[in-house]
């Protein structure tokens, strides 16, 4: 079965309700019960959130929603109600037969129609213990176990990372000591975490919002920690999908960061990749340009080896000299990522003196060969990271004095401040704000002359050196290293042939990363000029995406993150009470010792440091998108981090505004059929809101009657079939594992085994979830295939009844809706047993759980023997309404109902037998312009009202003749006839007011009255509409089904003693003449709430509730169904 039931079915026409709160709930209840489709949209996450300024009843407890659970479920479960929480009205235009509305709903990252509330996502979430856990119980379908996910816009660290590595997620996982998962999160976007953990220039840290509070997170340090931790424990293999034989081959030229990254993603997407490296060793600039004391070779080697293991072919000493040749070898595409390995020169005389080296060439020699000739006094020209590397390398090769000569001042050095600091610690001197003007020396360099200078940056022009003083100074040197930049070296291999080159010999590419040659793509420094490791990697990935798109015709799989990519709202606020916490400093070797060798300078974080640092994260986006929850929810499929907002367009014949704040003034069109709860009356307390809700619903009904759908087909009364004559019942046992959270596997197995010990059990199995559409469908399939006629369902569902009690919730009612209403299984053949709430309460041992399970199942299996019909029948409603009294409320009600298409008889002036009409009523003029649907009786004396809903008989004297009218419902709308309503005892009233919001009800269902208090509060017209809405709820239904817990009476036993009648607070039991001159008890099913008071009171068990029969209870106490077969 695809999808989940009703909530996906979007109505095209519905009455639109805007806003949350009880007024809106009342509107939704009235309209849906009257058979009208409703779309209920609110910005709130919770339909019960009270609009501002409304106070609940003073005598009610604070947790209002608890009181309204049954009503709330009844409304939210109604197939006619489409629920749109966290949705905004975007447009509302008059048109057609009403309005055209556009509603936009925030992304539903958790589908509440599928969420089983198993809580495995919360267990998986690394932020469950955070101050603002992203996963919480959702109030939207309250009461429900379903969860909601708080996902804010993409966090700044992740946005700042060119690769979009999800720093927040791996910080959260690190804080939770889930290092492996954390590293896996990095690897989603970055195949070189070890490299980046050391040499990345970490733009994420610059963006970190913690910087506003104290210091940014040491994100790079944590990345390094994670890699080192894993490296110590054996790095996991990089998994890649199997290669298809016909997968296209791609050549990546260059094994630097761009090339390796491109190769990795191409391989991950199923392509054959060959990396061609001109040098004898892999890594490109990572190896040739970055020193081992910054990036140890074991780290680089391990990462490249892991990539090789994932199925990437890497060839070294494979210098490419012709692109045509490559393409002829069968490569479907070529990606050039050759980098910038040619040094820029000073273009000063003397640059060819001995002792003058150029940085890339110098570092390459040191890094690949392990040594290089070095003098005593060294000058490095340039202020970038390479210059720092060269300077620090010079010390390690034996130089005694190293000076960096750079044109920039301290604050604008291109090198990372950390590099500058470490160089300084190791003794490197800086001569800043000056540029060389002359290289002095005979055959060998002896000194450098320099003059103070600075960059002049003109618009649209390359920077120019401007000398500040004619005075030159001299730096003595026997070795000079020129580190002023690099450029592509394509021409060295003759590769530039046919390619369009730009400034500085860089390759020119289009938006899709294509060069001017077909099938040839380029990425990395060769395109951008010297940049950063992570920048090159991002280039590589982007180009790989384009290559993939080119080869497969699919859009590029690379997602470019923007703040709006995911999430809703703003970043989590930085609380004022959040303490400042120092950033963890990394231990490092002493400068004196470290500058003697090429061993790594920094030691990395300890476990404790990494965790302490990770815990500083502010979780800007709330949900960190580590996706651990999605994995836990795989079978259920309720979680989707990629979901976007949804848009719904509706034709609305009427719009009801429960909260004015939800209808932006700019959107509010002028016109009829927009009803505002706050305008209908006062909004000082809940009673007014509810009355206003009913009034709005009633008015809306009058104009939307054409939308009314045929009443729901009631479930026919059915009893469990005993199976073929003479054959035992076929019992099946289904055990809902609640996505494997119900109990440990051994307990689940034990419970299934237990079922095998019950005679007649022909089937037993576990289901991953019975409230999930797929789980329910599986149950239905098996029940039918196996011909089961008794089903024990071990889950959280506690009864099979078509009914919501105070204990019911979303999941329970949803399971019942799937099984019985959508899949058509027979309700009364099911015996659900609530294992979920009882098995695991109080953390028992598996043995204790087994004991409990055995006990609970014992009852269920015994009970399955005594299943019987649940309903006693249906009351056919004929839509006949009798309105007694022509007060303004009565007239309004009658007119409204007539508009709704009901047959109305209105008795304008009515009095009780033997009483006179009060003067104000007697003197009231009788309106004459009634529609034909109202049959008017101007004057009548009411003698009695007997019967019950669907079958009232009203006796009256009209003009001297006695008449009896039949009616389905009766309304008393004049104060002088209110006595006709039965006395509303306190308990009876409580039932109606507290749980049903039914202010017009009397204890006799179907007999309505207008309370004097109501007349004082709202305008008569609205009160009439509200009354009409209540009446329509009942009268518009073709059938009324009864309460499935209402008891039956055995007339053979009933002694007519009247105890039941006396104890019933709901006027649901009456004594009627029976056989043998005795009276016998009768239950008015529609009045009955199923409390069972009468059953307990009956001395002779003449009253019995089939679902809890006395016989059954007796068997439950003593029975034992488990026998060895």
């Amino acid at each position: 079965m695809a999808g989940a039931g009703k909530k996906d079915a979007r109505p095209s026409k519905a009455v639109l309700i805007l806003g949350s709160g009880f007024g809106a709930l009342k509107v939704a209840e009235d309209l849906s019960l009257a058979g009208l489709p409703v779309a209920w949209a609110t910005r709130a996450a919770n339909f019960l959130e009270l609009p501002q300024g409304v106070k609940p009843f003073p005598e009610w407890p604070e947790d209002l929603s608890f009181q309204f659970r049954p009503l709330y479920l009844r409304v939210t479960r109604n197939p006619l109600v489409t629920l749109l929480p966290q949705a905004r009205l975007e447009a509302l235009e008059a048109g057609g037969q009403g309005y055209r509305a556009r509603v936009e709903q925030d992304p539903r990252y958790i589908d509440q129609d599928q969420c089983t509330g198993c809580d495995r996502c919360r267990e998986a979430c690394p932020l469950s213990q955070a101050e603002h856990p992203p996963l919480t119980r959702s109030p939207a379908y309250c009461p429900s176990r379903a969860l909601q996910l708080d996902k804010r816009p993409v966090s700044p660290c992740r946005l700042a990372c060119p690769l979009g590595v999800n720093a927040q997620a791996y910080l959260a996982l690190t804080a939770a000591q889930r290092y492996g998962e954390a590293l896996a999160v990095i690897r989603r976007d970055n195949p070189l975490p070890g490299v980046c953990g050391r040499v990345c220039h970490h733009p994420c840290e610059a963006a970190c919002r913690r910087g506003e509070l104290d210091k940014p997170l040491a994100i790079r340090g944590i990345k390094r920690f994670l890699f080192d931790h894993e490296a110590r424990h054996g790095l996991p293999k990089i998994e890649a999908p199997p290669l298809k034989a016909d997968a296209p081959r791609v050549a990546v030229v260059g094994s630097g960061p761009a090339g390796l990254t491109a190769a990795h993603f191409l391989r991950q997407w199923g392509l054959k990749v060959t990396v061609l490296e001109a040098l004898a060793q892999t890594g490109g600039m990572l190896r040739a340009g970055i020193n081992a004391f910054r990036l140890p070779r074991r780290v680089l080697d391990a990462e490249i080896e892991a990539l090789r293991q994932s199925g990437i072919e890497i060839k070294t000493s494979a210098r490419v000299t012709s692109l045509e040749d490559l393409l002829e070898q069968g490569f479907a595409a070529v990606l050039l990522a050759t980098g910038t390995h040619e040094d820029l020169s000073l273009n000063l005389p003397g640059e060819d003196l001995r002792g003058v080296r150029h940085c890339v060439e110098f570092l390459r020699q040191v890094n690949l060969e392990g040594r290089a000739p070095m003098g005593e006094r060294v000058v490095v020209i340039g202020g970038g990271n390479s210059a720092m590397d060269a300077a620090r390398t010079a010390y390690r090769l034996g130089a005694s004095e190293v000076t960096v000569l750079a044109i920039e001042d301290e604050s604008s050095l291109p090198a990372h401040p950390e590099e500058v600091r470490q160089a300084r610690e190791e003794g490197v001197r800086f001569s800043l704000g000056a540029a060389p003007v002359e290289l002095v020396g005979q055959s060998r360099i002896e000194a450098v002359k320099a003059r103070p200078a600075h960059w002049e940056i003109g618009e649209g022009q390359p920077p120019r050196i401007v000398y500040d003083s004619p005075r030159a100074f001299t730096l003595e040197a026997d070795t000079l290293i020129v580190a002023i930049g690099q450029r592509p070296h394509l021409h060295q291999d003759g590769l530039e042939k046919g390619l369009t080159l730009g400034r500085g010999g860089r390759l020119t590419v289009d938006e899709a990363g294509r060069t001017n040659l077909p099938k040839v793509f380029a990425a990395g420094d060769v395109v951008t000029g010297p940049s950063t490791v992570v920048g090159s990697m991002a280039q590589g990935r982007r180009a790989a995406g384009q290559v993939h798109a080119f080869l497969t015709g699919q859009p590029s799989p690379v997602e470019e993150l923007t703040p709006a990519s995911h999430g809703v709202g703003d970043y989590l606020a930085i609380g004022e009470d959040l303490p400042q916490l120092p950033r963890q400093e990394m231990a490092q070797r002493q400068p004196k010792a470290r500058c003697r060798d090429f061993e790594e300078v920094e030691f990395g974080y300890s476990d404790e440091q990494a965790q302490a640092e990770a815990k500083r994260c502010l979780n800007c986006a709330s949900c960190c998108e580590c996706l651990a929850c999605q994995e836990a929810c795989q079978e259920v499929g309720a979680i989707g981090h990629d979901r976007g907002p949804r848009r719904l367009e509706l034709d609305c014949p009427a719009v009801i505004v429960a909260d004015a704040a939800e209808l932006p003034p700019a959107l509010a069109p002028q016109g009829a059929n927009i009803y505002r709860l706050d305008q209908a009356g006062h909004t000082s307390d809940l009673m007014d809101v509810l009355m206003a809700g009913s009034a709005a619903a009633g008015q809306a009904m009058a104009v939307t009657a054409r939308l009314r759908r045929g009443a729901l087909q009631p479930e026919p009364e059915r009893a469990p079939e005993p199976g073929p004559a003479g054959h035992p019942p076929r019992v099946g046992f289904f055990l809902c594992t609640c996505n494997q959270t119900m109990a440990p596997p051994e307990v689940l197995r034990g419970l299934l085994d237990l079922a095998a010990k019950v005679p007649d059990t022909v089937h037993r199995q576990s289901v991953f979830s019975c409230c999930h559409p797929r789980g329910a469908a599986e149950i239905a399939r098996v029940v039918r295939a196996q011909g089961l006629n008794r089903v024990i369902l071990g889950s959280c569902v506690c009864c099979p009844l078509n009914f919501h009690c105070i204990s019911c919730n979303d999941q329970r009612s949803r399971a019942k809706q799937h099984l019985f209403e959508e899949l058509g299984l027979v309700r009364c053949t099911f015996e659900p047993v609530n294992l979920r709430d009882h098995l695991a309460a109080g953390s028992p041992t598996p043995q204790q759980m087994m004991e409990r399970g055995r006990d609970l199942l014992r009852g269920a299996f015994i009970r399955s023997r005594y299943l019987g019909p649940l309903t006693q029948g249906l009351t056919d409603m004929g839509r006949r309404v009798l309105v007694l009294g022509g007060s303004e409320v009565g007239l309004s009600c009658a007119l409204n109902l007539a508009l709704q298409g009901l047959k109305v008889r209105l008795v304008d002036k009515a009095n009780l037998e033997g009483q006179d009409l009060p003067p104000d009523i007697a003197g009231r003029p009788t309106p004459t312009d009634f529609p034909a649907a109202i049959s008017l009786v101007p004057r009548a004396e009411i003698l009695s009202i007997t019967g019950s809903i669907g079958d009232f008989q009203v006796s009256a004297r009209v003009g001297g003749n006695k008449r009896t009218w039949q009616a389905d419902v009766v309304c008393l709308t004049d104060p002088n006839i209110l006595e006709l309503a039965p006395y509303a005892g306190e308990a009876g009233l409580k039932k109606f007011y507290r749980y049903d919001f039914a202010f017009f009800h009397t204890p006799q269902l179907g007999l309505y009255r207008v309370m004097p208090r109501t007349l004082l509060r709202v305008k008569a017209f609205e009160a009439g509409a509200a009354l009409a809405a209540e009446v329509a709820d009942a009268a518009a239904q073709a059938f009324l089904s009864d309460h499935q817990l209402s008891p039956r009476v055995d007339p053979e036993r009933c002694r007519g003693c009247g105890r039941c009648e006396a104890i019933c607070p709901f006027d649901a039991v009456r004594l009627v003449p029976g056989q043998g001159g005795l009276y016998t008890s009768q239950v008015l099913r529609h009045n009955c709430v199923g409390c069972g008071g009468c059953v307990g009171r009956c001395p002779v068990t003449a009253m019995d509730t089939p679902y809890f029969s006395n016989r059954l209870l007796e068997k439950l106490v003593a029975g034992q169904p488990f026998t060895e077969r």
Binding site: C1057, Q1075, G1076, G1077, L1078, T1080, T1101
Partner: protein
């Protein structure tokens, strides 16, 4: 089939069911049958003998009987129908676990079974006040019965069954007896016996006998006809070597009155008397109550239409089978009582009092059924001169 069970055959033989002439006097006099219930002693006899395969009928009917003994009284062939029912119930309960349909959801039977616990600690003598002279050891005991329990359970009815016990002790004191009242007395087990639960009945008998012996009791005085029936007739069947003497309080009172030891103050007015089945038809005690009532000056006894050996049962027995037909039957009995013009209905069994009072509770009966009901012992004690 029921006849396959040799014990059933044996019961049929022992209770002379084969002597049945199918004359139908039993059914014609059966209060259940008369009130419209689908139950007929004659049909049951027929089924047991001729259609034993109709198990459903037999099993239902065996539990439908009131065991009032009316049919047996009328039977010209001497079929021991009441004993037949008792034997059959014991048999069906033992062999098939049948328990019949019990009123009050079986609560009273449950407490009776609870009393089979040897370690039971009851607080059942709290009602004894200082002016009531009793002992913990002695030769003569007064058997209280279930009155303390009924008083709680039926509080809603307003029947004060403990008053019967208090008044009985007052009477005994007046006759010069300071009876032993046992702290851990058990239910006599009548209702368990008559609903077929022989095992628990036996256990109650054994425990009670133990208590009597431990208190040195040799004679037991009882006011309740059911207790009397059990202690005198059924307890000796299950307790080996039982040597207890069982005396009815009214017999004691009658003897004392005859000896001039007991005089009564006047009570002006008409009263009528309800014969308890276990006292009248089954123990044959028809004269003593009437004679004692006759000794109250000014009291005029008017018999109901059915009285003496033909008296109508109070409508229920052993707290089983209470239903709409019981009610009809009880209403009939109350109407007979009201028809005598009596202001007071006297009975000698607490259960008659409970059942008839319960039947008065009816908000819709045409004409009031209300009638004052008192126990004979209470009436006598109130009028001791």
């Amino acid at each position: 089939m029921i006849l396959d069970n040799p014990r059933v055959k044996e019961i049929i033989a022992r209770r002379h069911l084969h002597m049945c002439l199918e004359c139908g006097k039993c059914s014609a006099s059966c209060p259940r049958y008369i009130s419209g219930k689908q139950y007929s002693p004659r049909m049951l006899a027929h089924k047991l003998i001729a259609e034993p395969q109709d198990r459903a009928y037999i099993e239902n009917s065996v539990w439908d009987c009131l065991t009032c003994g009316q049919c047996q009284e009328r039977c010209p062939s001497g079929v021991e129908f009441v004993q037949l029912i008792l034997d059959m119930r014991r048999e069906l309960a033992a062999s098939q676990g049948l328990m019949g349909y019990r009123a009050h959801d079986g609560a009273l039977h449950s407490w009776m079974r609870i009393m089979t616990s040897p370690d039971l600690k009851q607080n059942r003598t709290q009602w004894l006040s200082p002016e009531l002279k009793t002992r913990t050891r002695g030769e003569t005991a007064y058997f209280v019965g279930c009155a303390p329990y009924f008083d709680v359970f039926f509080a809603g009815l307003g029947v004060r069954t403990l008053d019967i016990a208090k008044d009985s002790v007052r009477l005994l004191n007046r006759l010069g007896v300071e009876p032993v009242v046992l702290e851990q007395e058990r239910c006599c087990g009548h209702d368990l016996l008559w609903s077929g639960d022989q095992d628990n009945f036996t256990e109650l008998c054994r425990l009670n006998y133990q208590e009597f012996k431990a208190a040195g009791v040799r004679e037991i005085v009882v006011s309740c006809p059911e207790c009397h029936s059990v202690l005198s007739q059924y307890l000796p069947q299950v307790v080996q070597g039982c040597d207890l003497k069982v005396t009815l309080l009214i017999d004691l009172a009658r003897r004392a009155a005859e000896q001039g030891l007991l005089d009564f103050t006047p009570l002006e007015g008409v009263v009528t008397y309800q014969d308890p089945c276990r006292l009248g038809r089954q123990a044959g005690c028809l004269e003593a109550p009437r004679e004692l009532l006759g000794r109250i000056p000014g009291l005029e006894l008017k018999e109901m239409a059915n009285h003496g050996l033909g008296a109508l049962c109070c409508g229920n027995n052993s707290f089983i089978n209470c239903d709409a037909y019981s009610k009809r039957h009880q209403v009939e009995r109350l109407r007979q009582g009201l028809a005598t013009g009596a202001g007071l209905l006297v009975t000698a069994c607490p259960k008659c009092m409970i059942h008839l009072t319960c039947a008065m509770r009816d908000p819709h009966q045409d004409g009031p059924l209300q009638m004052k009901v008192r126990d004979l012992a209470s009436l006598l004690a109130d009028h001791i001169r």
